[in-house]
Amino acid sequence: MRRILVGIKRVIDYNVRIRVRPDGSGVVTDGVKMSINPFDEIALEEALRIKERGDADEVVAVGLGPDDTQQQLRTALAMGADRAILVRTDLAVEPPVVARVMLKLIQTESPIMVILGKQAIDDDCNQVGQMLAAIWNRPQATCASKVVIEGGKARVTREVDAGLETIEVDLPAVLTADLRLNEPRYVKLPDIMKAKKKPLDITDLATIGVEATPRLKILKYEPPQQRQKGVIVKDAAELVAALRQKGLV
């Protein structure tokens, strides 16, 4: 079976205004809306499209996190994933741990491809895909904006600082999704009902044999330095005069 594994992370919704807790221990999460990391949604959408084109047979959504991650995995199933696996942990897991968990699952699932989001919008690390590719000793194609599968290979267009780069990788490989790879589909109500019957297996870190030992201690969270609000100028002439006075134009 040609299988694709997709990583699904539960994060604070991108529309939520983030506030740092006064004691610096983290950010406020009580009563805050949680969602699938937007890049993971794009990764899942791509996996579904690859399957719909006939280049894969099964899409498996993998979550690593607290029990509530089941909500995001149910959404993934409603979008079209065939089944889901939750590796449960209440610890904050760092990218190397996520990579090791994925590698464990790769060993039992033997996917042709793993598609992840290029970064999570909470820790903004942009690390897991590359780390997984390294320890799996397989190719990586990060920041993908176009994917074409052909004869055991993937041709991937990547968003890079210079513009668009295209590389070819042998499968299996790790891909990470950038914003413009696709536009994820909306979930329809019947799909939500159907998703309830799809398999969602729950395991935990200890069972699959991965330790979550942190490599980096987080000492504190701080709010960023705020910019001072400036002035409203009345017209273009006043703006240009102000910039000229500062030597900016």
Binding site: D124, S145, R158, I167, L219, E222, R227, I232, V240
Partner: protein, 312 residues
């Protein structure tokens, strides 16, 4: 002694300006000895440029046909090999560095810190999370190797005038063949580069079409600025992806940033936090961009851009 290895980014025989910023970051680690590693097909000129950055002790040049164009899967094992004996390995937080450095960190089983914005000690760093809405201080265990990307907008480039010695290194590593470069489409332009420009004019969704986006180009050319864009403008095809500014685009720190028809979503603002002066032009007086703008001008951009040009 902290021995820091910096991986040089380069293209077309030119050293990327981000490298001198990585040197500034590395120099802020106490008791640092800085080495730059150049992986290239024929990197003599790039190595020369690296050697002339102040504060660099030596440059290691690894020439191999497979090293250009750079592929993370090809470079990572070589970086990992050269990292032996170093306490830190740094790279820029550009798409090159972000692709490569986590792969290096995994090979070395090192702690990995993305987007270092300040160095508090040899093990302790500050970095942005949540699109820059929080800053965390992280610490690696003493004695552990550290791989990091440097948030280049947080650093000034180290000065020129150094004269580090250059050593050629041969690594007996067979490059992997599972990853192959096909092509890169980079728009060549005579305009200043977005990442290093001192002035940037950016356009948003409000421009409404590719043709209208030319207004942004016109103003940028008048003041010698680079062009930027919001995600909405890039998604709509008004501007190419490499011009996107923000959380998932470029993080920039120009002297002057002019945002035109951009609402100021947090994902956009995180890319311009370090700009010296921000100007916002928007017809909605309540747009969040005005919260961070030093100068705000409320009105229709199609009327205001010509007005501004007239006054220049």
């Amino acid at each position: 002694m902290n021995r820091i290895l910096i991986v040089a980014e380069h293209a077309g025989g030119m050293l990327n300006a981000a490298v001198a910023k990585c040197v500034s970051c590395a120099a802020s680690v106490p008791d640092a000895e800085i080495t730059i590693a150049v992986f290239a097909a024929d990197g003599a000129a790039v190595a020369q440029a690296a050697a002339s950055i102040m504060g660099v002790a030596r440059v290691l040049l690894v020439d191999h046909a497979a090293n250009e164009p750079a592929l993370a899967a090809v470079l990572a094992p070589q970086v990992a090999r050269l990292a032996e004996g170093h306490s830190h390995v740094f790279g820029p937080s550009t798409t090159f560095g972000k692709d490569l450095m986590p792969r290096v960190a995994a090979l070395l089983d090192a702690a990995h810190v993305s987007d270092v914005m300040s160095v508090e000690s040899a093990q302790r760093f500050r970095r942005p999370v949540y699109a820059g809405n929080a800053i965390v201080t992280v610490e690696a265990a003493a004695g552990e190797p550290i791989v990091a990307t440097v948030r280049v907008a947080s650093y000034q480039p180290a000065a020129q005038g150094g004269s580090a010695k250059i050593e050629s290194v041969k690594l007996d590593l067979a490059p992997p063949t599972h990853t192959r470069f096909v092509s890169v489409s980079a728009a060549r332009s005579d305009r200043p580069d977005l990442q290093t420009a001192s002035r940037v004019v950016s356009g948003g969704r409000a421009l409404g079409s590719v043709e209208n986006f030319a207004l942004i180009q016109g103003l940028a050319d008048r003041i010698g600025a680079a062009i930027g864009a919001s995600r909405a403008a890039v998604d709509a095809g008004y501007a190419p992806n490499e011009l996107q500014v923000g959380q998932t685009g470029k993080i920039i720190a120009p002297e002057l940033y002019i945002a035109i028809g951009i609402s100021g979503a947090i994902q956009h603002l995180t890319g311009i936090k370090d700009a010296r002066t921000i100007v916002a032009i928007n017809k909605d007086a309540e747009a969040p961009i005005f919260e961070v703008a030093d100068y705000g001008l409320v009105g229709d951009l199609f009327a205001l851009i010509p007005e501004i040009e007239k006054n220049l």
